[in-house]
């Protein structure tokens, strides 16, 4: 009986229509939830943040996981996308009359971020590892201080009064489209080039991989997605300031990537979801609401000492999670593995294992 169930389950996971079906259901739900108030506004908000974070984590994974570089510039690309799109929807496009201009503004935000991604790609031709990390950090600081010093876009005060244009269907649409594109990129000659660069850049160059071009495209795609996520984020929060897009934002995305596992789209989805939910649960008000079923003689002292101080403690807990993950679980949840549904049919046939590139436990490197 169990064997039969297992077979059925495997067959279900194998079937070609599983992912399209889930997409249709997801899209239907994304429309239905806000329309019929199936979930509270708060939960809807969290769902949208999860979607945005999934875009951010997956796109950063392209550079930090698949390519093995260490980029800290992601918040900078977000900022560029956010500011560009906000300027468009507030000052240029009459979005109130023509709502379809919102996706155009988001798209342009992404494209401008991609242009800047191109600029960051250029130093990556020459330097790798720690040095590139410092360059991306410098880029982030330049973006931040530039925004702070342009008074027309609010300077350090930021911009407020942004229309709330980001809705659940839009987040779902952008997240699935961008994830699909990143997945397609990875399972193409460019994606294999990205993996080869991580393994051995000189050898991949000698095996005819145009490393500069591959890096160019990878950085552009990554920053394009970050720009779009920033645009969606701005029109959800309805307020942006340079402080939002500083190094802590980049660190948050890094935590999602490494928690979920490097070089895995499925891992980034899990990492972003867990991180976002955890961050919400660790809010004092949420925690209090979650634990309010406890009898008062337990709840009241707990609330007085622990829950009310959670606001400070969660800034300790999140980095602590990162440290523990890195120490005891360096691959993360899905490191170097992938959900089978995400792998194109052709690659699944030639690689019948459940891996993008098999993660083996017995590292036989001493055979060399």
């Amino acid at each position: 009986m169990m064997v039969l169930l297992k077979q059925r389950w495997d067959a279900l996971l194998e079937s070609a229509w599983l992912v399209p079906l889930l997409l249709v259901i997801g899209f239907g739900l994304a429309f239905a939830i806000p329309e019929y108030h199936l979930l509270s506004v708060y939960i809807q908000l969290i769902l949208m943040y999860i979607g945005i974070n999934i875009i951010l984590a997956t796109s950063l994974n392209l550079v930090n996981g698949y390519m093995g570089e260490f980029s800290l510039a992601h918040a900078g690309f977000m900022a560029v996308g956010a500011y560009t799109s906000v300027l468009l929807t507030m000052k240029v496009f009459p979005v109130a009359d023509f709502p379809f201009l919102f996706p155009c503004a988001v798209l342009i935000g992404g494209l401008v971020a991609a242009l800047l991604g191109m600029i960051v790609a250029i130093p990556s031709f020459k330097v790798r590892g720690d040095y590139l990390a410092i360059i991306t950090l410098a880029f982030l600081m330049i973006v931040k201080s530039m925004i702070e010093n342009i008074d027309a876009i609010g300077g350090p005060r930021g911009m407020s009064g942004i229309m709330k244009l980001t809705t659940l269907p839009w987040v779902f649409f952008w997240a699935t489209t961008l994830l699909w594109m990143i997945r397609n990129f990875i399972y193409s000659k460019y994606g294999r080039g990205v993996l080869a660069i991580r393994e051995d850049e000189i050898a991949s160059d000698l095996m005819s991989v145009n490393t500069q071009q591959v890096k160019f495209f990878a950085f552009m795609l990554s920053s394009f997605c970050a720009g779009i996520a920033g645009a969606l984020f701005a029109h959800l929060l309805q307020f942006i300031s340079p402080r939002i897009f500083d190094i802590t934002k980049s660190t948050d995305i890094l935590i999602m990537v490494y928690l979920g596992g490097i070089a895995s789209i499925g891992g980034s989805i899990l990492g972003a979801t867990i991180f976002t939910v955890l961050l919400e649960i660790l809010r004092p008000s949420t925690m209090a609401a979650l634990l309010s079923w406890l009898p008062p003689f337990i709840f009241t002292p707990l609330n007085d000492y622990v829950i009310s101080h959670l606001g400070i403690w969660r800034m300790v807990i999140m980095p602590l999670i990162l440290i523990l993950v890195m120490l005891y679980w360096p691959r993360g949840i899905m490191g170097l593995r992938e959900f089978r549904g995400f792998i194109p049919r052709r690659d699944k046939q030639v690689h019948p294992h459940n891996f993008l590139h098999e993660a083996t436990n017995n590292d036989n490197s001493d055979r060399q």
């Binding site: 594109m181 397609n184 990129f185 399972y187 193409s188 000659k189 460019y190 994606g191 294999r192 080039g193 993996l195 080869a196 393994e199 051995d200 000189i202 050898a203 991949s204 160059d205 000698l206 095996m207 005819s208 991989v209 145009n210 490393t211 495209f217 795609l221 170097l336 194109p344 052709r346 030639v350 690689h351 019948p352 294992h353 590139h357 098999e358 083996t360 017995n362 590292d363 036989n364 490197s365 055979r367 060399q368």
Partner: protein
């Protein structure tokens, strides 16, 4: 018909002269060996031809095209394949992916087709897979296609490296010590393999080797380097009887 002409090629690392006044003419279908003591500049020569280093002097013409100053991937795309002295596989990737990656320059779809998986993508990807599996079959690696490259035993890693180099469908193949670390039996096998791929892929082969059995056994001409200088060029018999070569390898012969 010449495929590769090196003319007065020289290269220095700082003050150290690694290769000096190197001249070479390779005809289509040649199988030539480069020998010399350690530090003679053999691997540097390969690095100059494949563009890892830019030759400081001289010119290298491949099929009539000047390749000094071109990037390694451009030279590889002109169909020069190579292997490495220390195996440089993509260790964490599968055996199949190692071979698939080397198809990069011959894959004709652009980045948009790659992003959307449309247009030429499907046809090209299928062609890459078919060709990769064909290459793995030639090297008896088919059953290991899904294995991680680093888990392969040493001899098979060497084979995989040659298979990967053939995936760029080279006209000139540079083999950097293909028999290093192999036992006599494996060397015999390798000699047969080199002969057979040479015929099947119509290759011109330039190989560096210390194993005299292999060099004398299959090379038609041998080029001897010592401290960056050319000592002698000629057939295996000529080289074996050349007093200068014997001196370089065995030390001065007492008279």
């Amino acid at each position: 018909m010449t495929i590769l002409i090196a003319n007065k090629v020289g290269h220095q690392f700082g003050g150290l002269c690694a290769v000096n006044d190197f001249n070479l003419k390779l005809h289509y279908g040649d199988l030539m060996g480069v020998i010399g003591p350690n530090g003679a500049g053999k691997t540097t020569l390969f690095n100059l031809i494949t563009g890892v280093y830019k030759a400081s002097e001289g010119s290298i013409l491949f099929k009539g095209i000047e390749i000094v100053g071109k990037k390694p991937n451009q030279i590889a795309a002109l169909r020069i394949g190579r292997t490495f002295q220390n195996i440089r596989l993509f260790r964490d990737l599968s055996v199949l992916d190692n071979v698939r990656i080397a198809h990069h320059s011959q894959t004709s779809y652009n980045v948009l087709e790659g992003l959307l998986h449309c247009g030429r993508y499907a046809r090209e990807e299928q062609r890459i897979i078919d060709n990769s599996l064909r290459l793995l079959a030639i090297f008896n690696l088919s059953h290991l296609a899904n294995e991680t490259a680093k888990n392969l035993p040493y001899g098979l890693q060497r084979r995989l490296e040659i298979a990967r180099a053939l995936a760029i469908s080279p006209e000139l193949l540079l083999l950097d010590e293909p028999a290093a670390g192999m036992n006599p039996f494996e060397i015999d096998e390798l000699m047969g393999l080199i002969q057979s791929i040479r015929k099947e892929f119509q290759l011109t082969i330039l190989l560096i080797e210390h194993q005299m059995k292999l060099v004398m056994g299959i090379c038609e001409r041998i080029h001897v380097l010592d401290f960056g200088e050319t000592l002698a060029v000629g057939s295996p018999e000529m080289i074996q009887n050349n007093p200068k070569v014997m001196e370089a390898y065995l030390g001065a012969i007492p008279s």
